[in-house]
Symmetry: C2
Subunit: 269 residues, 2 copies
């Protein structure tokens, strides 16, 4: 194969895993290859039972389960213990979508303490770049030694969001300056040709559209094939479906097909 | 008094309270006038006992107690019940500094549900503008009927933060478009001449400086007299002081003197 295009190289997941020194990124890419899944479930349900039942059913089809632990009405330590057991059984990583967004000294306590003790069970967390690099430094003080990886929110999927232009550029720079701990981005586009950064895109449905509070939806093929993101994050498209397992299978297939299409396009370009 | 300056009018607290239709803003300004305090305590301790003891001692000197409820290791419903009792006894408002920063459908659940059920006890909350107006609309669905007010984080005190320029301008516009629910700003400058918006400034110490994770400190007179903010938010300057009550009294006096200086400067200009 002769590469004569200026497009950045597209790697398959196993090949790309070998380029990564960060253990979370490597593990994630290995899972994506093993399970043929670039699907993250956004498990936005509000009781522990719903969460664990949903994750047990859908777990085989996803590489990541994304939580909002602070919307559970009945959180106990047992909830995350069981969730971690499901992660081991079904081979996925847990991503707590906390969107840390405070100064370093505060996020350090929010991540490493409190009732949720997120640093004891989440493989992946995320943060907004708006507080400046201190937010990353504070989270790293807690998370780096625990093998936790952090995504920076460089773009958002919601209408009228301010994560654009210079804001996005500054966030990407913050990630590049902290590559030991920042493993990639929440974004709606591919933002760097560095294959060791992972891009995850929320707001994915099988048809484009918008909810009543400004969330905007893109399709798996738009996100993965056209925009070059790595992972589709799907919430309501799965947990509000009549048959969540069937829906998850559809998204898994759509996401993986979209990746194969991108890979094929690159190989033949 | 003839106003011949172009500076916006400076009101005393009681006079300004009468201009406000929002009940939270009016109540806050009344408290500030009654207690002669523009001091908010940032009560960043990690156990309920420390929190309640600190607040009981310092409560008489502050107009607001600001919490990070998610850093408490031993939160129970009783913690916020007792905190609310202290708020009534000492005449202050409770501001949960959650920095909501997600899409509308998510913050709606984070604010109105979960273990903390923030909407049941916080008089004031805050949000980043980065997700776009949906974040305000989602919070309003829960908070407006409960008489809760929201601050938007238009500027931050941390080094290298991205809440500047167009980002700040867009956040101010978002506030102006949602005046029924947004009561003002977290900022390090006065951002509007509208007297019904409150400005609160974190990162205040009696001497300027910086912590090891990028927090930058300004003095009460810089914040209130020179920059025209309304409220100084003080954390470590009080709860890490040898005598927190004595420290609170100092900040109360420094903050109020700084306000009187601004008022006097306006009256005589």
């Amino acid at each position: 194969q002769t590469v004569c295009s200026l497009k950045p190289k597209v790697y398959d997941y196993e090949e790309r895993a070998k380029l990564c020194t960060n253990s979370v990124t490597r593990r994630l890419l290995e899972i994506m290859g093993e399970k043929r899944s670039n699907l993250a479930l956004s498990a936005d349900v509000t009781t522990s039972q719903e969460l664990l039942q949903l994750v047990d059913k859908v777990g085989p089809h996803v590489c990541i389960v994304k939580t909002h632990i602070d919307i559970l009405e009945d959180f106990t330590q047992e909830t995350v213990t069981k969730l971690s057991q499901l992660a081991a059984r079904h081979n996925f990583l847990i991503f707590e979508d906390r969107k840390f967004a405070d100064i370093g000294n505060t996020v350090l306590h929010q991540f490493g303490g409190g009732m949720y003790n997120i640093s004891s069970w989440a493989h992946i967390i995320n943060a907004h770049g708006v507080p400046g690099p201190g937010v990353v430094h504070g989270l790293r003080e807690v998370g780096a030694s625990k093998g936790c990886g952090c995504l920076l929110i460089a773009e958002m999927s919601s209408a009228g969001n301010l994560a654009t232009g210079d804001y996005t550029t500054a966030t990407v720079s913050m990630a590049e300056a902290n590559k030991d701990f920042v493993i990639g981005f929440i974004s709606v586009n591919n933002l760097t040709s560095d294959p060791t950064f992972i891009h995850m895109t929320p707001g994915v449905q099988l048809t484009a559209g918008q909810d009543s509070l400004g969330q905007q939806y893109l399709t798996p093929s738009e996100v993965i094939t056209n925009r070059g993101s790595d992972i589709i994050i799907v919430g309501r498209g799965i947990y509000e479906a009549k048959d969540p397992v069937e829906a998850a299978k559809q998204f898994q297939l759509a996401g993986y097909d979209a990746f194969v299409a991108r890979l094929t396009e690159f190989m033949t370009s």
